[in-house]
């Protein structure tokens, strides 16, 4: 059952029929999915959700599944319903009593992008597309290529040529047409916006974006369900375009609207790398103007210099009383190690950004020790090995003899 009514411009409110369009023809504002919440209210109960699959699709009534979609038609590799783990040891290290980690490293292609791609390509298929495409900093390329392979769709994925080699290989292995573009992610994005005008392809983060973006709400839904249908006090999320943070905030609002959780305040805070922090800068300098930057950071998955949802991320953080911070490449690498050593979760650079910013927000008093805080760990560390290869390695290198080991151990 679909509760999608159509698309609506977030800026000027103009309404558009369901289609593969992402921009308001009038003001260029982003189009968002509009739902019939009244009908959804009756269908979305805790019991029904709990009886659903252990994937994002347990929240199908709250997602933009288009009218006439059979559950068997979903393009589903099993994304979502990832562990929400209590992080006592990291909490102790940082000075928090009630810290939780949303471990999205364990998704099918090892990042949260599987949530958005599963939703986007399911909608794209229903809209009649046979080719999947994306502009990507890596994680999205992996996910689009993997889901397209599973669905038997052709895929074109566009990435900046300076991406980490392991990220390029981890996309190419699924057999897409991988296009390596000599430029930054923002250049790739711009190219894809132009290509999307010329070819009838489903660019998940361009023309199918209204559906795509909604997939990130499932992070918020899961956090609440896994906390026993309660909202946390504080969520810290990484920001590239800012979309994930905005959608987690939207998810909490929807859960209250639908009567699935008690209405109570929450706060949401955003994390960026200092080498690409246009949204943080807009908050800190007080202008509220998101000025594009040229990224220079090891956190390539967050290296979007021209963040499309920057203004909405600012709105969400300011409205809820959260804050934003940015951290250096050194702090990012250190935080990846701290997370792995204390909690056994190996995160890519974006996870390092989130944990390092979490530490900063605690030190600055933006998060108090007793707040129930959830940090979103969005992707797996094996994707960005280089970031920490200079920081960790063998304790001993020895010949294969017991005595050699004992000598080393006692040295």
């Amino acid at each position: 059952m679909s509760y999608v009514e159509g698309l609506r411009c977030r800026e000027c409110g103009r309404e558009v029929d369901i289609a593969a369009v992402h921009v308001c023809e009038f003001c260029f504002g982003p189009l968002e999915v509009a739902y019939d919440y009244r009908a959804m209210y009756k269908a979305a109960t805790r019991e029904q959700i709990a009886a659903g699959p252990r994937t994002i699709w347990r929240y199908a009534p709250l997602l933009p599944e288009l009218p006439g979609t059979d559950p068997a038609d979903r393009i589903d590799l099993g994304a979502g319903f990832t562990p929400l783990v209590p992080a006592q040891r990291l909490g102790e290290a940082l000075g928090l009593d009630d810290l939780w980690l949303k471990n999205d490293t364990v998704n099918p292609s090892f990042s949260f992008k599987d949530r958005v791609v599963s939703v986007a390509l399911t909608a794209a298929k229903r809209l009649g597309f046979h080719v999947a495409a994306c502009a990507s900093t890596g994680n999205l390329a992996h996910s689009v290529a993997a889901h397209a392979a599973h669905a038997g769709m052709r895929a074109y994925v566009f990435v900046p040529s300076d991406l980490e080699p392991e990220k390029i290989i981890a996309a190419a292995v699924y057999g897409p047409r991988l296009v390596s573009v000599k430029g930054t992610y923002d250049d790739v994005n711009r190219l894809c916006a132009e290509i999307a005008s010329e070819y009838h392809w489903a660019f998940v983060n361009v023309n199918v974006r209204p559906y795509y973006a909604e997939g990130s709400k499932t992070i918020g839904f899961e956090i609440a369900e896994q906390l026993g249908w309660q909202l946390p006090d504080h969520v810290v999320a990484p920001m590239a375009s800012g979309s994930m943070l905005v959608k987690i905030d939207k998810a909490f609002t929807e859960l209250i609207t639908l009567g699935l959780v008690d209405d109570r305040p929450w706060r949401i805070s955003g994390a960026q790398a200092t080498g690409c922090a246009p949204i943080v800068a807009a908050l800190k300098d007080g202008t509220g103007l998101v000025r594009p930057v040229r990224p220079d950071t090891i956190a390539k998955s967050l290296a979007i210099g021209n963040p499309a949802d920057g203004y909405y991320a600012l709105d969400a953080v300011q409205r809820t009383g959260g804050w934003m911070e940015d951290v250096s490449d050194h702090e990012i690498a250190e935080a990846i190690g701290l997370l792995a050593r204390t909690e056994g979760i190996f995160a890519e650079t974006a996870g390092g950004v989130t944990v390092a910013v979490l530490r900063k927000l605690i030190q600055q008093g933006h998060i108090t020790p007793d707040e129930r805080t959830v940090a979103v760990i969005s992707g797996l560390g094996l994707k960005t090995i280089d970031a920490i290869s200079d920081h960790v390695g063998p304790a001993y290198t020895i010949p294969p003899g017991l005595e050699d080991f004992q000598v080393a151990l006692n040295s």
Binding site: V23, N189, V206, A308
Partner: protein, 91 residues
């Protein structure tokens, strides 16, 4: 100065379906004005009430984002390509 303006899909309803439009002007601001004269309605889609570029519109002269140059005062040259690109989500 004659420049080529590349029109994104959402604006092609205003340009009668044309993907490119030739206009003249010496700055991006003049190009937008000329564009609006040729295809009335395009100006208000690109600029807000105070005459600034709307926040979800990106304008490039050849490969340069005008926000890294002088905004609407950014100069254009004969044969330049001005691209109008909507903002794109993350990746």
């Amino acid at each position: 100065m004659s420049v080529t303006v590349r029109i994104p899909t959402p604006l092609r309803t205003v340009t009668g379906g044309n993907a490119t439009v030739e206009v003249s002007g010496s700055t991006v601001g003049e190009v937008v004005k000329a564009l609006d004269a040729a295809h009335p309605g395009i100006g208000e889609r690109l600029l807000d009430g105070s005459g600034q570029v709307r926040r979800f519109v990106n304008i490039f002269v050849d490969d340069g984002d005008i926000r890294f140059a002088s905004g609407l005062d950014t100069p254009v040259w004969d044969g330049a390509t001005v691209s109008i690109i909507p903002a794109v989500a993350g990746g």
